[in-house]
């Protein structure tokens, strides 16, 4: 392919090794590789100090045309057409606008039709494509791995490095395969799959690895389901998670605004088809799971690895063999206000959050609406539905999904990260308990003292109706 460093045979390689090797600008023994970055996504929280650094050193952005900025973490999801009320949030957003203008970076600000969570916007614009390297100052950049890209979160110093050089210095991670055989049972989703995996591995299980998810259950997922799985790679410590591109991937990308067109499309697809792990390639580690035995899965603790089947009970700390795990469980139960042995289905929930880059895309909202149709949200429970982007919001409204949410008594909001990280006004109050479709249940993640249970979309919707952790099977069916 015209003198570029595209994969051209040789030693058997895994998918991630192929993508990695195609991006090595410079490789020297004893030093990390210098890796070229195809797409750099930016948002208001982790970029201001990076632009400051450029300004101080008098450096330009090397490739504004490979850079995209959006406002998401900090923006309000109510009154988004008015000036931002919180002066500190406003300063941060204004700083991004000023920086984008000064350095020539494309920005989708609040109120723009392409605004939304950075990891929802990239794929929906068609900017996320197989075989790319994608970085962002946000740990859930791993989402883009669903397309067969190497995508990972970076810190602000690295944001500045990429802005200045369009490269990053990175030591090559080890490789791991997570093979998920069988098919997911009806009603069990990609979210349940990844929560099950993280409880299996623990939060540190993926440290130092780029993970390839594969197997029948992965192949059967939609692109949006694959994004949910890759999104949570960082929650078990993996550097990145990716899935080999296939027809599902190509069909999703084709026709998107920034997708290749005409002859470019053919050339791109021809290359993308080479992006699979060679049959005789060897991974440094392998994990095998069976999807057919998976059930709705929720967390009980304060990290994503503290999970249990929805049909199970709050665990007893003394059941953990490892002392650190036991102490962590004790601390978590105290923080969460839970008693060992309580059936998860008896846990009462104050707020249900549907949204985030894990579960805030159109298929998620369709599924939630499907379950909520004809039902009412429990009078003691609040349901917040926050689309991942303006486009998702518009699509949902075109399909009438918002009417179902509103009729059920839910709040229908503007696009952004919202209660996923509790940086804007959407926060839990101390002691308030949520069932959340987001990705982190850390102490205080959704607001100081807030208690988070991570759940799938079906569990979130059913929980909103019953007021306790539930699955759609627990709902009395209604005539609609």
């Amino acid at each position: 392919m015209m003198g570029c460093k595209l994969y051209s045979g040789g030693m058997a390689k895994t998918l991630s090794e192929k993508v990695w090797d195609e991006h090595v600008v410079r490789s020297t023994a004893g030093e990390p590789d210098l890796l070229y970055i195809d797409l750099h996504l930016i948002h208001e929280v982790t970029s201001p100090q990076a632009f400051d650094g450029l300004r101080l050193a008098g450096r330009p952005v090397r490739r504004p045309d490979l850079t995209l900025a959006t406002e998401d973490h900090n923006v309000p999801t109510l009154d988004w057409d008015k000036p931002i009320a919180d002066p500190v949030s406003k300063t941060q957003v204004d700083t991004l606008r000023k920086n984008a203008a000064e350095f020539g970076v494309r920005l989708h600000p609040l109120g723009d039709i392409e605004q939304g969570i950075v990891h929802v916007v990239g794929p929906q614009l068609g900017l996320t494509q197989p075989g790319m390297t994608i970085v962002c100052g946000d740990s859930h950049t791993s989402t883009h791995g669903a397309f067969g890209a190497i995508a990972f979160g970076i810190g602000t110093s690295e944001v500045e490095h990429v802005l200045a050089t369009q490269t990053l210095m990175q030591a090559k991670p080890k490789t791991m395969a997570v093979t998920i055989n069988g098919s997911l049972p009806a009603g069990v989703t990609a979210k349940d799959m990844v929560l099950t995996l993280i409880t299996h591995t623990g939060t540190g299980g993926g440290q130092g690895y780029i993970v390839e998810y594969r197997g029948q259950a992965i192949e059967e997922l939609s692109m949006e389901g694959r994004m949910t799985v890759c999104n949570m790679s960082i929650e078990w410590g993996a550097k990145a998670g990716l899935i080999a591109p296939d027809q599902t991937t190509f069909d999703y990308i084709e026709g998107k605004p920034e997708a290749p067109k005409g002859a470019d499309w053919d050339a791109a697809v021809a290359h993308w088809k080479t992006l699979v792990t060679d049959e005789d390639a060897v991974f440094d580690k392998e994990i095998v799971l069976d999807a057919s035995t998976m059930t709705p899965f929720v967390t009980w603790g304060t990290n994503p690895g503290q999970g249990v089947a929805l049909g199970g009970v709050v665990p007893t700390p003394s059941d953990f063999d490892d002392e650190q795990d036991r102490i962590a469980a004790e601390n978590a139960l105290t923080y969460m206000g839970l008693t060992a042995g309580t059936p998860m289905r008896d846990v009462k929930v104050d707020t249900v959050f549907v949204g985030s880059c894990t579960n805030g895309r159109i298929e998620d909202l369709r599924l939630a609406a499907d379950i909520l149709k004809g039902h009412k949200v429990d009078p003691n429970t609040r349901l917040l539905v926050v689309p991942g982007s303006v486009r998702v919001r518009m699509q949902a409204e075109a399909e009438g999904l918002h009417e179902i949410f509103l009729a059920a008594g839910a709040e229908w909001r503007g696009a952004g990260c919202s209660m996923c990280l509790g940086m804007n006004p959407d926060q839990l109050t101390p002691g308030e308990r949520s069932a959340s479709t987001s990705n982190r249940n850390f102490e205080g993640r959704q607001g100081k003292g807030g208690r988070t249970h991570l759940v799938s979309i079906p569990v979130a919707a059913a929980t909103a109706v019953r007021g306790t952790l539930s699955s759609p099977a627990d709902l009395v069916s209604v005539e609609v």
Binding site: V25, Y36, S139, G155, A171, P260, Q324
Partner: protein, 199 residues
């Protein structure tokens, strides 16, 4: 960046595993647009607890954090590193670090030194017996010691980060020295790769 060769300072035992970045600094404290002033947010939720280690006078001047395994999991926020530095920490010792946190530390000049879990336990025991005791972290020789010789062990840090910290070098400057390699790579990129704006 300042050079780091060796540091001696008060050790602070943080006896928790899996200290995630939302614990190190909650999101509401991330709204500054500078690299300074984040010390107020450091371990914000825990600092309300009078028994929290940093609320103990002996540890107020602490600069070497001795933490449980899986330190810095979660978010990519470099603010977590800045908050520790703004507070006065120069070194974090742990048996395992989350990758992004370790990377951010190296860039910002905080030494994330990986030691065996048993060494952490010995340091905790030592600090329990001698609250306010100092710990020396020698980057040149990759050793962690207590002045009385109660604990003497080595730590791990990748060679490249160590070299950069010892010399106080800035990554961007190093990379820009390889500008020609970057330009050559760019010349070979396929035309169908996406761009965010067209010329």
């Amino acid at each position: 960046m300042e050079k780091f060769t060796t540091h001696t300072g008060v050790g602070v035992p943080l006896k928790r595993s899996n200290v995630d970045t939302d614990q190190i600094i909650p999101a509401v404290y991330l709204k500054r647009v500078t690299r300074t002033g984040f010390e107020d947010g450091l371990f914000a939720a825990w600092r309300n607890d009078p028994d929290f280690v940093l609320n103990n006078e002996v540890y107020a001047a602490g600069s070497v954090l001795v933490a449980g395994p899986d330190f810095g999991t979660g978010s990519s926020r470099e603010h977590a590193v800045w908050a520790l530095q703004n507070y006065g920490f120069k070194v974090v010792l742990s048996a395992r670090f989350a990758d992004i946190f370790r990377g951010n530390s190296g860039k910002a000049g905080l030494v994330a030194a990986q030691v065996d879990e048993k060494v952490i336990q010995r340091l905790w025991d030592h600090l329990d017996d001698n609250p306010g005791a100092e710990i020396t972290v020698d980057l040149e020789n990759k050793t962690v010691t207590t002045p009385g010789g109660e604990v003497e062990d080595s730590f791990d840090i990748d060679d490249y980060t160590r070299w950069r910290l010892l010399n106080g070098l800035d990554d961007i400057g190093i990379t820009l020295g390889n500008k020609d390699d970057i330009a050559a790579y760019e010349a070979g990129r396929p035309a169908w790769k996406p761009v965010t704006q067209r010329a």
